[in-house]
Symmetry: C2
Subunit: 323 residues, 2 copies
């Protein structure tokens, strides 16, 4: 088997970009899309694409890394098909929650060599035509690092992400879901709430809205269906994040009502935002080497991910992580 | 007296920009700043500027529109000085809340011909050096339109705003404060809450934060002192807005916990944001003429402001409002 053979199932924005990026990085790529229009467009762009999931899975069974590049409900529908045609395949996905996918894989495709993935790139557009070989450049790409992950498949998924220009972040499924609830799903809820409270102020409030409202409500313009699917799919972790927000907003309310002051709320938010800005500055100097195939390797990678570490290079199963 | 004589007290970002913009529009301008460095810099730029508030007020008493271009606490400190040296002057301000200023004026300077103002422009920088003659171009500038406002002074403040390139929004003080609580002050509270909840997720969450978190927390980077002063100064109206947000966030929490669904929250936010986007598109065709000096003129202007109307031209006290 080749270490760089890829089978992408679903050729929307993410899958279509992945097909292009991996091809550009020298991988042997094959794709599958249900839509005839997408198959035709991808073939015209020179790609080996079919509309038969059975064919593409049978071909990929022993040989390729299979990427399920479809939303969570479609992943769950496809897993029994994977179990039938490629039961022991190397398998990853691109879904924005990881515990539900892992649970579905365990139920439907227990023999697959599954390592979850979440490339955190996107645009407001969607579909094959919106895809780009450079979509993942500089973006975080979480690679599922729970105990039991197959080190060889783990390294292959990480290789794919690095070859696409992404920054590989190792994380367990539960840690991933908790983190994205806070920084990706809660922002959508708060944007929706702010937009509604603003609109309740009527035309005068809309006329007076400036940068803070525009910024704070920007993601409320996203497709409600996609936002719902993303947030509702991460229910448990999102409840924790919403409760944290409710507690902090309630504390601000109480302080404003009782003392008239907002110092604690505003100061904590300011310090937090500065921490975030500092974390984005690329002044990493520490480099750690971890062999994902070694005993305790996955646990060490999870620890480094929790500390903000990112995989920057890979030789076989040996990872170079920057902190 | 000249209709275009201006006395700007305080030459920070807003006051300094106002001095430059009004000068550029042909007003006779004079300024006052406490700081010797600012006085020197403004004089070097060719402006007639003094550090004596007594001198500048005495000169302005019968002749000029006096603008208190300082924050709320400084306005309150200055009003007794205004009452002493220019008790019946034409007076406006630039503070981001209007009811507290109106109350302070009624207490300390009851004979002044006061019409409140709030130019909604700003940058992340501050001070004289950051000012610009074009700061107000296209920005909303609220002109206080409660019953009892002097029509001649009202028209002069509106003239100043139009000459600076702003869009004049007529509003009563209470309506103004309620609107900005929703679209300007609440966004700062929610940004602070989101930044804190995100940072609680640790380095992993910070590494996975993308556009939704960056946008939603942007204003948390602002000076905590300025944000506190702005929000705490609008306490009552802000409590109402925070309660609205708490109610909506609590409803989202309840729905997610009980049914797993977020349809109502996400859909309402999406519709609200689209309403906001539509309101920003310049497709206004209705024009209404109102004489601010006529009986009921101020009430009619307040109504039009509530409907999103903006003053686009002015002849004497006759206003042309676009809807």
């Amino acid at each position: 088997m080749s270490e760089r053979t890829l089978c992408v199932i679903g050729l929307g924005l993410i899958g279509g970009s992945l097909l292009r990026a991996a091809d550009g990085a020298g991988w042997k790529v094959r794709g599958m899309a249900r839509s005839d229009a997408v198959v035709t467009a991808a073939r015209q762009a020179g790609f080996d694409v079919t509309s038969s999931i059975e064919d593409v899975l049978t071909d990929a069974a022993d040989d390729a890394l299979v990427v399920l590049a479809v939303p969570l409900p479609a992943v769950v529908d496809m897993l029994p098909v994977v179990a039938r045609h490629a039961p022991r395949c190397r398998l990853t996905d691109v879904v924005s929650v990881k515990q539900p996918v892992a649970a579905a894989v365990a139920r439907h495709t227990p023999r697959a060599r599954y390592v979850g993935g979440h490339p955190m790139a996107g645009t407001s557009a969607s579909g094959w035509a919106a895809g780009s070989a450079t979509l993942f450049v500089g973006a975080p790409w979480v690679v599922g690092s729970d105990d039991g992950a197959d080190p060889e498949v783990w390294a292959q998924v990480a290789r794919l992400a690095l070859d696409c220009g992404a920054q590989v972040v190792p994380a367990g499924a539960a840690d991933h879901d908790a983190a994205v609830a806070r920084v990706s799903h809660l922002p959508h809820i708060l944007a929706a709430v702010l937009a509604s409270v603003g609109a309740d102020g009527g035309a005068l409030a809309m006329a007076l809205a400036a940068g803070s409202f525009t910024d704070g409500t920007r993601v409320a313009a996203s497709s409600p269906e996609l936002v719902r699917a993303m947030c509702e799919g991460n229910r448990d972790a999102l409840l924790t994040a919403v409760d944290d927000a409710l507690g902090r907003l309630g504390a601000a309310r109480g302080s404003l009502a009782s003392t008239g002051g907002l110092a604690a709320t505003i100061q904590a938010g300011h310090v937090a935002r500065r921490t975030f800005d500092a974390a984005r500055v690329s002044d990493r100097t520490d480099t750690v080497h971890v062999d994902v195939a070694a005993s305790g390797g996955l646990g060490r990678l999870r620890e480094l991910g929790q500390q903000g570490g990112r995989l920057v290079a890979l030789q076989g199963t040996r990872c170079q992580v920057q902190l």
